[in-house]
């Protein structure tokens, strides 16, 4: 297998256990025709065999495009990608044998029943007839689909469709399973069901690469998480290490009733026990312009040493000194969301 040398980042992009890489990506670039910017802009990472790898990023970060390139559906503009040691650009046909995809949007075969969706998928991948019947029965059972096996996918809910697609993806025993936002749009029960199945897969041989914009999901499922924004990787490590990289033991998020200038932020930062202060800005959403940062009500996040609760009163006093009243307080330990905010200065959603 050719050895890949990703270009240097200021973080480690390769898995620490060198058991053999299921996926290696070097300087991968994608620019769609007529697009002004790269959808994926020089991404490098490696995924160890059997690892669960999370790609965390907001809408439009380039997650689906990255998955598309690794699964031969999108032709890279530059760089290199190996899956199971096979170059996806040079040998797409063999690369397809190694991978399975659970896409972001359903692409189930509407002319076939659920069972036939599974069975024909395996047939495309050359699984012998008896074996595909056996696997279909097993997976339908495991994913709680037996009673609906004869139905067409037309009237399936999002959660049921998602289950079918995961089951289908497993039919040909892929080395690497890509899941593109596997739980987006699912209700909590359906999400837990999918999480449970994915936790089971962790213990099997298969390598999982999942994209998500849900930090809880990334933290819960992934061995390592890459944080992606605007087509670039901003950080890559275990969830614990990413969170641990933020100084302090607690966070305190404060919202005030009016906008404020830098003086308030400086005053908050000067409080004892406050390591760092970040201003959180609202994002423009769905075409609606967010007000300019200076006009937005003050919203800050304090990274603290020690107990967050003890800092509420002093912080409120600082705000009052500046003519502001406290409207909302959130205490917490840092999460991946805080890592994202730290890296980009904005919230994930």
């Amino acid at each position: 297998m050719p050895k890949v040398h990703p270009r240097p980042y200021d973080f480690e992009v390769l898995p620490r256990n060198d058991a053999g890489h299921a996926v290696e990506v070097v300087d991968l670039v994608k620019r769609y025709p007529k697009a002004p910017v790269n959808a994926v802009d020089g991404v490098s990472f490696g995924v160890a065999a059997g690892e669960v790898f999370g790609l965390l990023g907001p809408n439009g970060a380039g997650k689906t495009t990255t998955v598309g390139m690794l699964t031969t559906r999108v032709r890279p503009t530059g760089g290199r990608a190996l899956v199971g040691g096979i170059d996806v650009m040079r040998d797409p046909v063999r690369a397809r044998r190694q991978v399975a995809v659970v896409p972001q949007r359903s692409n189930l075969d509407r002319s076939l029943s659920i069972r036939d969706n599974l069975v024909f998928h395996a047939a495309y991948h050359g699984v012998p007839a008896r074996e595909r019947e056996r696997r279909a029965a097993e997976l339908l059972d495991q994913f709680g689909l037996l009673d609906r096996a004869g139905d067409k996918p037309d009237f399936f809910s999002g959660g049921q469709g998602q289950r079918v697609m995961i089951a289908r993806a497993l039919m040909h025993a892929p080395q690497v399973l890509f899941l593109d936002e596997p739980t987006t749009g699912l209700d909590p029960a359906a999400r837990l069901f999918v999480w449970d199945r994915l936790r089971e897969l962790r213990d099997s041989e298969v390598t999982l690469i999942l994209t998500t914009h849900d930090m809880d999901e990334a933290a819960f499922l992934a061995d390592r998480v890459a944080i992606m924004d605007h087509g670039r990787l901003l950080a890559l490590d275990t969830p614990a290490a990413l969170i641990g990289g933020l100084e302090g033991e607690g966070t305190l998020e404060l919202a005030a009733d009016g906008s404020a200038d830098g003086a308030v932020v400086d005053a908050l930062a000067a409080l004892t026990g406050v390591e760092r202060v970040e201003t959180v800005h609202l994002q423009a959403e769905n075409g609606a312009e967010a007000p300019p940062p200076a006009a937005q009500p003050l919203r800050v996040r304090l990274y603290l040493t020690g107990d967050a609760a003890l800092h509420v009163a002093p912080a409120a006093a600082v705000l009052a000194d500046h003519g502001l009243a406290l409207q909302d307080v959130k205490l917490g330990t840092p999460t991946l969301e805080d890592v994202f905010i730290h890296l980009t200065g904005r919230t994930l959603r």
Binding site: P92, S111, G126
Partner: protein, 265 residues
């Protein structure tokens, strides 16, 4: 190295056959719908133009025999075209069903080739069904065993032309414009393909003769007439086959290019 390569090719062909089997399976399960789709239109054309108008004395006796090969051509071309165009627009446009097949371990070209082969099969079935239907409605159909090779060549090339059109339309047409396919493509193709009139007789309508000469279906109609009713004036078979071969090459190469463009971003 013969071993691994042979194995690789076996895998690819197995994927190809599995996808073809999927299409046949779905067709088999929806057989009445398939038959209705392919039979109804030529059946009505045959009945109205061949039987009704003849019985009322509006057409001469041999018109039905002149019309019949034209309707076979029409069925061959349109069935192949419809089999490809509509599912392709839907699968690339909104159902995305084709993705699972594009990710099967075979070259993207195989997925397109399977679609073409399947369209040919459906086209042959639809055309062959027309023979007994013709006997049933008209009492007799023109048939010459000496014209059989040309008949087969005309049908195969006709189905390929239809498949080429289907591939082109299916990958070119945006899903929201699918109804334009009917009005802007199918209808003109249907009526300028010389299926209802022999091309040389259009002498008297020169401009229309020029228009029809641009429709590849004209050459399918004419070659089938040459095979079944050679006494009716028709375009020389070798010209027909040559034009069809060129048209197929052009349509297929543009169609396959379109397929790649839709299959891989």
């Amino acid at each position: 190295m013969a071993g691994p390569i042979a194995l690789e090719q076996a895998t690819q062909w197995r994927a190809f056959r599995a996808v073809l089997r999927r299409d046949l399976y779905v067709t088999w399960r929806e057989l009445p719908a398939f038959l209705a789709q392919v039979i109804l239109q030529p059946l009505f054309l045959l009945f109205v133009f061949g039987k009704v108008l003849g019985s009322l004395g509006y057409t001469r006796n041999n018109y039905a025999h002149l019309l019949f090969p034209g309707l076979l051509a029409l069925t061959a071309v349109l069935t192949a075209m419809q089999t490809l165009a509509f599912p392709l627009v839907a699968e690339f446009g909104w159902t995305k069903e084709i993705e699972d097949r594009l990710l099967a371990p075979m070259p993207t070209l195989f997925v397109a080739a399977e679609k073409v082969l399947f369209a040919l099969l459906r086209s042959f079935v639809a055309t062959l069904i027309m023979l007994p239907i013709g006997v049933l409605i008209l009492g007799s159909i023109p048939w010459r065993w000496s014209g059989f090779p040309l008949f087969v060549a005309g049908l195969v090339l006709g189905a390929l032309v239809g498949a080429g059109f289907g591939l082109l339309m299916g990958t070119l047409v945006q899903p929201q414009r699918i109804n334009l396919l009917f009005s802007l493509v199918f209808t003109p193709l249907l009526f300028t393909g010389c299926s209802q009139y022999p091309w040389p007789s259009l002498d008297r309508l020169r401009w229309f003769q020029v228009v029809t000469a641009a429709n590849p279906m004209t050459y399918v109609s004419e070659s089938l007439r040459g095979a079944l009713v050679p006494s009716v004036p028709h375009i020389q078979p070798w010209i027909c086959l040559l034009v069809l071969a060129v048209a197929i090459c052009v349509l297929m190469s543009v169609g396959v290019k379109g397929f790649y463009r839709r299959a891989i971003d």
